[in-house]
């Protein structure tokens, strides 16, 4: 065991983690731990853009952006947080430009902007051009630009260090425990403050836009340490994933004029969102697609998908604005998007819920109190700026605004603090127990098989449409899978790059998080944003305009069948927008 000491430790090196690192690195001795290399992070897969009311191409202001974010989130958004995000959006984009991000430009040389789902002029009157973009590679450019700046400023990275535990002592942050993939060694990082920026958990589902590595590790760690997770039932399904594969095709395709069509060639979104049609928010479009499919208007021999039609757009426009996604269609489907429509289906995309924080990215241990020294930002966190459904582009915005805020807050805290919190006794015991049981045990269950079964039940029973019956089925299946997980065996007993062991550990986190999602969803007897209960089709503001706070009790053992999830609720912060019916 090696022990390291830093003022600030950041877990995760995607956009949120590196944006935090740029702030923390100049104020405190900072280390960034990632289970990948920084440039492999999934921020790089984001495509369409980052919204900010720059008003470079038409009238816009951040208050309209705030309203759209709140309405898009079906009024479960904490409105004070949305105001912070949308107000700071303008500087967040300008900061990136000054760091060198190669945005597309207007004829005047300013940052160009385009339309995106749910972003409107003057409170819903018409789509507005708000998304700042670099072709369909905006996330790639953000990730590269932040990495470049980290190189410039000498940020210290520990690559392929997999954080597996959070160390708390008398309720305060003491550090983290990490497993070094190259050697199998365990490291303790003592830190005055810790920022989790480790991303989402889309791999609980089978058809997903998420990377294989998005296994919710940060969420799972804090959950096992008895801290709450907020609004976990709200998971976004992006309408346009490549059929069966789930690979993301940006909403920017519709922002550029792309149209969704059913098997009759009908532009069906006109029936679901007469004003903004194909640019309605994602939850609404995903439901519309499945409604078309269920009513027999899906495409293909099994009628199980619809089309994204770009064929009416000039090839030059596709080449200039959507080069990557058109290439994906060619590479993975053998389809030429100039002439043929692309088969798509909704794909599990983004967790609205996560580790609860306030607007300074401080992690909450209940509805009001913070964990001293602990911060979270990005998809792993729930501020909550996305409420029940995130608007497109607001995730790239979230990581920049709240990544920055987390970096400032964490390093201000750690530089003001003269001493470290003592490490708890036997700080690596839990990690050693977990790894030892998997690596050295004689279990006979195959982790990949359990993961596949978990993903299948989650896709069938807990995705776009849910009922009490389907969710109970998922819950029952998860009980069985958690029991089997206790007997998982790993054939590779080596220390060096034991990625089989890594995957088994990741599965433990996924099982815990799938359970939290299902338990939270079962209790929410209403339909709101990304949580659509067919047995409760309406939004219920009287009983459910509140955040879910899920706590885990029982043994802190991975996917333990003896652990229990209990739910509490937290009020939504409302400033100036009263809930209205959500029409587009």
């Amino acid at each position: 065991m090696q022990v390291h000491r830093y003022d600030t430790v950041i877990v995760g090196a995607g956009g949120g983690g590196m944006r935090a690192a740029l702030e923390a690195g100049r104020r405190s001795r900072t280390a960034v731990l990632t289970k990948l290399y920084p440039t492999r992070s999934h921020t790089g897969a984001a495509q369409g853009g980052m919204c900010a009311a720059l008003a470079n191409v038409e009238e816009d202001n951040w208050e309209w952006h705030t309203f759209d974010t709140i309405k898009g989130g079906d009024y479960l958004v904490d409105q004070d947080a949305a105001e912070v995000m949308c107000r700071e959006a303008v500087d967040a984009v300008l900061d990136l430009e000054k760091m060198g991000l190669p945005f597309n430009r207007t004829p005047e040389g300013r940052i160009d902007q385009r339309r995106f789902g749910g972003h409107t002029r003057d409170h819903g009157k018409a789509p507005v051009r708000r998304s700042c973009y670099a072709a369909d590679r905006t996330g790639h450019m953000i990730l590269q630009t932040l990495f470049q700046q980290c190189v410039k400023h000498g940020i210290e990275f520990y690559n392929e260090f997999y954080v597996l535990d959070l160390l708390l002592h008398e309720g305060a942050t003491a550090g983290v425990v990490a497993y070094e993939l190259a050697t199998g060694e365990i490291h303790v990082f003592q830190a005055k403050s810790v920022v989790f920026a480790s991303g989402g958990f889309g791999k609980v589902f089978k058809v997903t836009s998420n990377a294989h590595t998005l296994t919710g590790d940060g969420l799972g760690i804090v959950l096992r340490r008895g801290l709450p997770l907020e609004d976990m039932e709200f998971f976004q399904f992006h309408p346009t994933g490549i059929w069966k594969m789930g690979i993301l095709l940006t909403e920017g395709a519709r922002g550029e004029g792309g149209i969704l069509r059913n098997k009759d060639g009908e532009r069906f979104m006109e029936r679901y969102a007469p004003t903004i049609k194909d640019l309605a928010p994602r939850d609404l479009v995903a439901r519309a697609i499945y409604t078309e499919i269920r009513q027999g208007r899906g495409c293909g021999p099994d009628g199980d998908h619809v089309y994204l039609d770009l064929t009416h757009l000039p090839p030059e426009q596709l080449d200039a604005k959507l080069p990557d996604i058109t290439e994906f269609a060619r590479t993975y489907l053998g389809i030429e998007p100039y002439t043929d429509p692309i088969p798509i289906q909704p794909t599990a995309h983004y967790a609205m819920g996560g580790i609860p924080t306030n607007v300074n990215a401080e992690v909450l241990r209940n509805n009001t109190d913070v964990v001293p020294g602990l911060y979270a930002a990005g998809e792993v966190a729930c501020v909550s700026v996305h409420g029940a459904n995130r608007l497109g582009t607001n995730s790239l915005l979230d990581i920049n605004v709240f990544g920055r805020r987390a970096g400032i807050a964490a390093s201000t805290y750690s530089s003001a603090k003269t001493t470290w919190v003592d490490l708890p006794d036997a700080p690596t015991a839990a990690v050693e127990e977990l790894l030892g049981r998997l690596r050295d045990g004689s279990g006979s269950e195959n982790a990949a098989a359990i993961r596949r079964e978990m993903q299948e039940t989650m896709d069938v029973n807990a995705s776009v449409f849910r009922t009490e019956t389907t969710l109970k089925q998922a819950a029952t299946d998860l009980v069985g899978l958690k029991a089997r997980y206790q007997d998982v065996g790993v054939s590779d007993r080596g220390r060096r790059y034991n990625t089989e062991l890594l995957e088994a550990v990741e599965l433990g986190f996924l099982l815990d998080l799938a359970e939290v999602l299902v338990v939270s969803a079962l209790a929410r007897n209403e339909s709101r944003g990304g949580h659509s209960r067919e047995d409760y089709p309406n939004r219920d503001d009287v009983n459910f305009m509140r955040h879910t706070m899920a706590y885990r009790s029982g043994p802190a053992i991975a996917a333990s069948p003896d652990a229990e999830i209990t739910l509490e609720y937290k009020p939504v912060v409302t400033t100036r927008y009263q809930p209205m019916e959500r029409k587009y």
Binding site: G100, R105, H212, T331, G334, D492
Partner: protein
């Protein structure tokens, strides 16, 4: 999708170069029979091996659709991302090796540090010496287009590890580092071109390039790597000679 061409029972053989320094004295080949569907990527076939036949097979991967750059490997003798080629396009037996020229850590995993060190050495970040404007720096669409190609780099190392000069001379910066220098040298907002050109003018710099075009062929992002290197060479001559 052309599913008719491949039946449900299609099977291929993966011939994978395995090496675990904890167990093996030297690398060896192993063969695995893998069933596949028409839409399966080579990465799916590797996962089939790992999840059903031998869990100890080690490789890096993340996004699985060609944007994170984790899974460059030598596939039938050419560098590609395993998530960006379909099994059905690779023939009945597919040979898979780690990318060449970097130390092998285990199976298909190599030590990436020398690669990233070379990229970092060319100062791959915007350098400016003017006053920062309140709003964004202006840049014409044409100036933005000038360096578009090299902004696509995902640092997968497919180009650098396909370069015969890099194989034989570990000191050479390699194509990826030059691509990342190019991305800033030709950015109208940047003022660090001279500094970077000076670095690339050193003996391990651009003049080592023999214009074999392996790098351009290998790039999974379609960057015209050799052209970018030639443009850097020309910039050196034009500005300095």
């Amino acid at each position: 999708m052309d599913t008719a061409a491949v039946s449900d029972q299609a099977v291929t053989t993966l011939k994978i170069r395995r090496y675990d320094p904890e167990r093996d004295s030297e690398p060896h080949w192993e063969r695995y029979e893998v069933p596949y569907e028409a839409s399966d990527r080579l990465l799916d076939a590797l996962h089939y091996v790992k999840w059903n036949i031998d869990g100890s097979l080690a490789f890096r991967r993340s996004c699985a659709h060609g944007v994170c750059g984790s899974d460059a490997m030598r596939i039938n003798g050419a560098n590609k991302l395993s998530c960006k080629v379909l099994v059905r396009d690779l023939g009945p037996e597919i040979s898979i090796e780690p990318i060449k020229g970097l130390p092998v850590e285990k199976d298909l995993i190599v030590d990436m540090d020398p690669f990233f060190d070379a990229v970092k050495a060319v100062k791959p970040y915007l350098m400016t010496d003017d006053h920062e404007p309140t709003r964004e720096r202006l840049q014409s669409a044409a100036d933005r287009e000038r360096f578009d190609d090299t902004t696509k780099c995902i640092l997968c190392a497919a180009c650098t590890t396909s370069c015969p000069v890099f194989w034989n001379d570990g000191e050479y910066f390699g194509p990826a580092a030059i691509v990342n220098a190019h991305r800033f040298i030709f950015d109208s907002r940047d003022s660090g071109a001279e500094e970077r050109l000076e670095i690339l003018n050193e003996k391990e710099g651009v003049w080592r390039c023999r214009t074999t075009f392996n790098c351009t062929d290998a790039c999974p992002r379609g960057i015209e790597v050799t052209k970018a290197i030639q443009e850097v060479k020309r910039a050196l001559i034009f500005r300095r000679f």
